[in-house]
């Protein structure tokens, strides 16, 4: 070996050098990192390589337990290793790590036969965001009951910060449920729209029909109840708002009602 003796290496190890070597195990351990006898740090540097990879891989397993289950531990470990190098966390808030994971999964050639994985990851991500979303007190349902029909149609609804609606060409919720619930029905092919609400602290995902989904999406965009109803009727002319409205009220997902004028 013709390496410089690390004891006499004067170069200071800056954090860019340290990071590069830490994230790429094929690189040499930076000179200037030593053991107590002044010999090259060798295996000791691997502690940091290992800590970072293991802690971020564990974060991925706990963030995406269903994707991990669908892939198997070994595959999830391998994918996490690739993902954490391509997308190291951009903030110390590990609760939100993995935002790029759905698109990352969809970009993996070798996973193209599991087209639904990205959307299952999206569902898990949305559940996690719903879990940490701001608290908001639901309105008293009597507020709605006291309104004339026209006043109600002209009103705008504020939805809880924890509410999410995601759509997939895959039976994303059925797949998720089949992996998390013993005895759940086997997923059948077909698109699903999934509404996530958080009545108290635990987010609840449930499938909603396409017209209900369209109505809720229109509300999310700020449409009045009536404008949203027109949107939903373009999908299903028999759409009736009583059932999705009851659903949102029961889930505590309506936190404000703004009447016209």
């Amino acid at each position: 070996m013709t390496q410089t003796d690390p004891k006499t290496a004067l170069g200071s190890v800056d954090q860019a050098t340290f990071t590069q070597a830490m994230m790429d195990a094929t690189q040499d351990v930076p000179l200037g990192l030593v053991d107590h006898e002044g010999a090259a740090a060798g295996q000791r540097f691997s502690v940091y390589r290992n800590n970072v990879a293991v802690s971020l891989t564990e974060a991925m397993h706990s963030a995406f337990p269903v994707v991990a289950k669908l892939l198997g531990k070994e595959n999830m470990d391998g994918l996490s290793g690739l993902f954490l190098r391509a997308h190291p966390p951009s903030s110390p808030l590990m609760m939100f790590y993995g935002v790029e994971f759905p698109a990352f999964l969809e970009g993996m050639q070798q996973l193209s036969h599991l087209g639904y994985l990205g959307d299952v990851a999206r569902l898990e991500l949305a559940l996690r965001h719903a879990y940490h979303a701001a608290d908001a007190a639901p309105i008293d349902p009597m507020l709605l009951a006291g309104q004339s029909e026209q006043a109600l149609l002209d009103s705008r609804i504020t939805l809880a910060p924890a509410l999410h609606l995601i759509r997939s060409p895959w039976p994303m919720h059925s797949i998720w449920r089949f992996s998390t619930e013993a005895g759940a029905a086997k997923p059948k092919a077909g698109a699903e729209a999934v509404l996530i609400t958080r009545p108290e602290f635990d987010p609840i995902p449930q499938v909603v029909n396409p017209a209900d989904a369209a109505w809720i999406e229109a509300l999310m965009q700020g449409d009045s109840i009536g404008e949203a109803l027109d949107q939903a009727r373009t999908i299903d002319s028999t759409f009736d708002l009583s059932s999705p409205l009851t659903l949102l009220l029961q889930a505590g997902a309506i936190t404000g009602l703004e009447s016209k004028g």
């Binding site: 954090q15 830490m22 053991d35 295996q43 802690s55 110390p92 940490h132 701001a134």
Partner: protein, 298 residues
């Protein structure tokens, strides 16, 4: 400058544990001998939901220590202003008994590596760390505690010993110190120095909290022991002995059990806290006896 750290403010000189949500019900019911709890700041920076609701309940019953793991105080780059303001927000509403962070870095070029990475002990590092601590203390409007790291390697460029480096940071910034006795044992084994000698050299009058945790055992390239700070098991006997050695010299301190991975059931964790209570009770000036005496004479 802000008021400097004073050892008489903050946490009680009693056992505490790192809070894990799975222990919530048991802690609220009966936490003895645990008298205070430590949380990782970054886990309570969501907008709402169960974590914050639990924390509000806990804070009504217990003194809380906020332990940051993501500020990257030793980072070459300026502190992330967004993260500083998150910490400020948390400290403002929670009003914890103590705030601590690490002598380490974890963020580079906008990426957070979720580990405590090592620093060379040079004058340049000293200046940078002191500047960052000044900024943090200004933001949270109180003195912080700075924790000694676990070391696996050394930097040839270092010109300071770790205890002297920490004492100098405390002198310049007015911050207190968090002495992790397990980290001392891990570093002493890995870098072949005397852990008692390290404690003897440490600014014990600046210590506002002691940490204890479990470590894993590995080997370096030469087959020598390489201990890894894992917080995944019980505290080992030599670390308890080092705690006794420390407390004999420092007097009673708040002592925390850290168990972050493979988290045990509550009785197992409480038993570790019980052992810390026992270590504290052996001291001439500690525990309930001392508080009772203070009340009687006070």
């Amino acid at each position: 400058m802000l008021q400097s750290f004073s050892p008489n403010c903050g946490l009680p000189d009693a056992p505490g544990v790192g809070y894990k949500p799975q222990h919530f019900a048991e802690i609220m019911e009966q936490a003895e001998p645990v008298q205070w709890l430590e949380i990782h700041a970054e886990n309570y920076m969501g907008a709402g939901g169960r974590p914050l609701a639990q924390l509000r309940h806990l804070a009504e019953k217990f003194a809380i220590s906020v332990h940051g793991v993501g500020l990257s105080i030793g980072g070459e780059a300026p502190l992330d202003p967004q993260h500083l303001s998150r910490l400020k927000h948390l400290v403002n509403w929670l009003k914890p008994a103590s705030f601590s962070e690490h002598l380490a870095w974890s963020t580079h070029d906008g990426h957070f590596y979720n580990d405590l990475l090592p620093l060379p002990y040079t004058n340049a590092t000293l200046d940078r760390v002191c500047t960052h601590i000044d900024q943090l203390q200004e933001a949270i409007n109180r003195p912080m505690l700075l924790e000694n790291p676990s070391s696996y390697l050394a930097f040839t460029e270092s010109t300071w010993s770790e205890p002297a480096f920490l004492a100098e940071i405390s002198r310049r910034t007015g911050c207190g110190l968090l002495l992790d006795v397990n980290n001392v044992f891990v570093s002493a084994t890995n870098l072949d120095f005397s852990p008692q000698g390290y404690i003897d050299a440490f600014a014990l009058d600046k210590v506002g909290e002691i940490h204890l945790g479990g470590h894993d055992e590995d080997e370096d390239d030469q087959g020598r022991p390489l201990l890894i700070d894992s917080h995944g098991r019980a505290v080992v006997d030599p670390v308890w002995a080092l705690l006794d050695y420390t407390l004999e010299r420092s007097g009673p301190k708040p002592v925390l059990i850290e168990w972050d991975n493979d988290v045990p059931d509550w009785p197992t964790l409480a038993a570790e806290a019980e052992r810390a209570a026992f270590a504290l009770s052996g001291l001439p000036n500690s525990g309930t006896a001392s508080s009772a005496a203070k009340r009687a004479t006070g």
